[in-house]
């Protein structure tokens, strides 16, 4: 038997429950060492389950599951939680684990409620060894920026009750790391475009939006390097993330044909 979307709920729902439980346990006020261990175990079990589904699904499709929107959401859910878990361990922000679990679950829910047409065929232009790193590296960047945006919102909301410098430094780290990944994804895309159709950049709608997204994060990075920490600078992050979301989902909303349309 080979795996398909029909089996997705039976693996994704337990994984999502593990993640949510881990997030709740981590946020629990009366934390004992045992509950911390349990949170770790649940988070890792969920990650293992979800990764196993992707691996088996990849095997069943005989191609990487990166072609449709539904398939890219699989990776986003996994990497968002993974990034959330790693940063929770590194910086000890329990709320981050819970938030990334909730957002990852939302992506799983979209896939459960709105299954899209799936096909095994991969166009010749997409058959490149650069395809997988190009998309996965972008998705890691998206996940990091997603968490940075959540952090920025927390910062803006809690500003009146005092400014959390530790959180701002943490957000800066995420944005710098995310921008590194964003640049790598863009460069891999450019190299691939040169191989596939002779030009590394052609200003198609998705590329233009990707440029705008990168530019917005670049503005943030430059202003922060001056030491600015006013609300205007923090507000750049939700705005940049909006551009990121548009470049991810919204290319079809704009005029002009794109080489990047999902189908």
């Amino acid at each position: 038997m080979s795996l398909s979307w029909n089996e997705f709920p039976f693996i994704a729902l337990p994984a999502a429950l593990c993640w949510l439980a881990a997030g709740l346990l981590a946020c629990c006020r009366a934390r004992s060492p045992r509950s911390v261990y349990l949170a770790d175990a649940l988070a890792l079990i969920g990650i293992a389950l979800f990764s196993a589904f992707i691996a088996a699904f990849w095997h069943a499709l005989a191609r990487p599951p990166l072609r449709t929107m539904g398939e890219t959401r699989l990776w986003y859910a996994l990497f968002l939680f993974l990034a959330g878990y790693v940063t929770y361990r590194r910086w000890n922000y329990p709320w981050l684990l819970l938030l990334s679990a909730v957002v990852a679950t939302a992506f799983i829910a979209i896939n459960l409620l709105k299954p899209e047409i799936h096909s095994i065929a991969l166009k010749p232009a997409l058959q490149s060894f650069l395809f997988i790193p190009h998309v996965i590296i972008y998705i890691i960047a998206y996940a990091l920026f997603g968490i940075a945006t959540l952090g920025a919102c927390a910062l803006l909301i809690r500003r009146r009750s005092g400014f959390d410098h530790q959180l701002l430094i943490f957000i800066d780290n995420l944005v710098h790391i995310g921008f590194g990944f964003l640049t790598l994804g863009l460069l891999l895309g450019a190299v691939w475009a040169k191989e596939a159709w002779g030009h590394y950049w052609s200003w198609d709608p998705k590329e233009t939006l990707a440029f705008m997204t990168g530019a917005a994060y670049l503005v943030y990075i430059h202003l922060r390097s001056q030491g600015r920490e006013d609300n205007i600078v923090i507000w750049i992050l939700p705005a940049a993330f909006l551009l990121l979301l548009l470049s991810w989902f919204g290319t079809a909303l704009f005029p002009g044909s794109s080489l990047h349309l999902y189908f």
Binding site: A121, G180, P205, V219
Partner: protein
């Protein structure tokens, strides 16, 4: 005491006004003389322009302690330029871009260059200003080289090199499409006016080949002819997964022939070039239990090979045209002064001959694998190497940024 506008040292308000003035001058130039012609930067003019740019940058570096140059290489101007380019991106996103303007009197947006933004004067001036600011900033850091500057230098110098090669090299780049019939040799390409242009490379097309994916089955409304794929779904033929469902019909794949011909109503496997995919299907209605069995085929290019399976009074089961999995041209490339190369051109696998790259481009879509011609795109790009070096620097900078993100933050907090 607060600083007045244009009183030294300059900051963000001056940067905003300066960039706004550049853009305004750009629009006025655009209205007066039309688009900026990047083709004017054709070799050797681009080397002269590059020398001017290098001279300005060197002058800036020499005067690096002056307040003006500090401002030019400073963050307020950099941020303003990035924001301006971001807004130009937004404009490009909202206004469909045209390859070039038609001769008829265009509307105001077109006359302002908004429909051909990347060759408009404001864009070209912003590009030049960015290169100057970026160049001075990078060179200043280069003079104070230290290990802590490596990430900064990789990112800024890499971007500068990439932007220079992309803009200054654009005019030297040549892209043409060569149409070659099977068994023929071609060395000419034709421009829009059907004038022949001789290439330094000739190509013989020995053979065009195509492999196809197993196709999809969909249900068609017999009255309207509409494909119900979007509401009922489709069945992807895959011998490993012979059972599936479309709408209220359970589909079973009894037999599948990837290359078949039809003789007296029966399909049999055949390697003939005209062969078509054919599937023997059993469809069972999940509500009524009705069972339909028969062959379905898209027919390829032979109408006699086509066949559908009637399901009920209103619906037919049909096979979509197969999608290409791989197509390739078996060619001999003959450079004007070199030895012929026998090779296969395929999507994502171009072949380099000197400064030329040769790509598989197109084929007769209506004939698919029977296409008796193939098109190759020939791209001449002598500025590819510096662009690749720039991208290499940026990649190293990006990797270091991803690795060091946390450290940079800590350093800042310590300050």
């Amino acid at each position: 005491m607060t600083r007045k506008l244009w009183q030294s040292p300059w900051g963000a308000p001056e940067a905003a006004l300066f960039v706004a003035a550049i853009i305004l001058v750009g629009f006025l130039l655009q209205l007066a003389v039309g688009s900026f012609d990047f083709a004017l930067l054709h070799y050797p003019a681009n080397l002269v322009a590059l020398a001017v740019l290098a001279g300005l940058t060197a002058l800036g570096v020499r005067m690096r302690n002056s307040l003006l140059v500090r401002w030019l290489a400073g963050i307020p101007l950099a941020v303003t330029l990035i924001v301006a380019l971001l807004l130009f991106g937004l404009c490009m996103e909202l206004m469909p871009q045209l390859p070039r303007l038609s001769a008829q009197t265009p509307d105001l947006s077109a006359r302002l260059g908004l429909r051909t933004l990347t060759s408009s004067w404001p864009f070209a001036l912003l590009y030049g200003m960015t290169l100057i600011a970026l160049g001075i900033t990078a060179c200043k850091r280069l003079l104070r080289f230290s290990r802590r500057n490596i990430i900064f230098l990789c990112n800024h110098l890499g971007l500068w090199l990439l932007l220079v090669s992309a803009g200054f090299g654009a005019a030297d780049m040549l892209r043409v499409v060569m149409h070659v019939d099977t068994g023929k040799t071609e060395w000419r390409v034709f421009n829009e006016a059907s004038a022949a242009l001789e290439m330094p490379i000739a190509i013989t097309l020995n053979k065009f080949t195509m492999e196809e994916y197993p196709p999809n089955l969909t249900i068609i409304d017999r009255q309207t002819g509409a494909d119900l794929k979007n509401t009922q779904g489709f069945f992807q033929i895959d011998p490993k997964r012979p059972a599936g469902r479309i709408g209220e019909w359970a589909i079973t794949l009894d037999d599948y022939l990837h290359t078949a011909v039809r003789v007296r109503g029966e399909y049999s496997a055949s390697p003939m070039p005209e062969s078509t995919p054919a599937a023997k299907i059993t469809a069972r209605n999940l509500h009524t239990g009705a069972i339909r069995t028969g062959w379905v085929s898209s027919g390829g290019n032979v109408p006699e090979f086509f066949s559908v399976l009637p399901l009920d009074d209103a619906h037919l089961l049909t096979m979509a045209q197969p999608e290409p999995k791989r197509y390739a041209s078996d060619v001999t490339i003959i450079p004007k002064d070199g030895v012929p190369i026998d090779t296969t051109l395929e999507v994502n696998k171009p072949v380099a001959v000197g400064h030329w790259m040769i790509y598989q481009y197109g084929y007769e879509a209506a004939l698919g694998k029977l296409s008796n011609w193939s098109e190759m795109e020939l791209v001449y790009d002598p500025w590819l190497l510096p662009a690749q070096i720039g991208m290499g620097f940026m990649a190293v900078g990006a990797l270091l940024l991803a690795w060091n993100g946390a450290n940079m933050g800590q350093r800042r907090s310590a300050r």
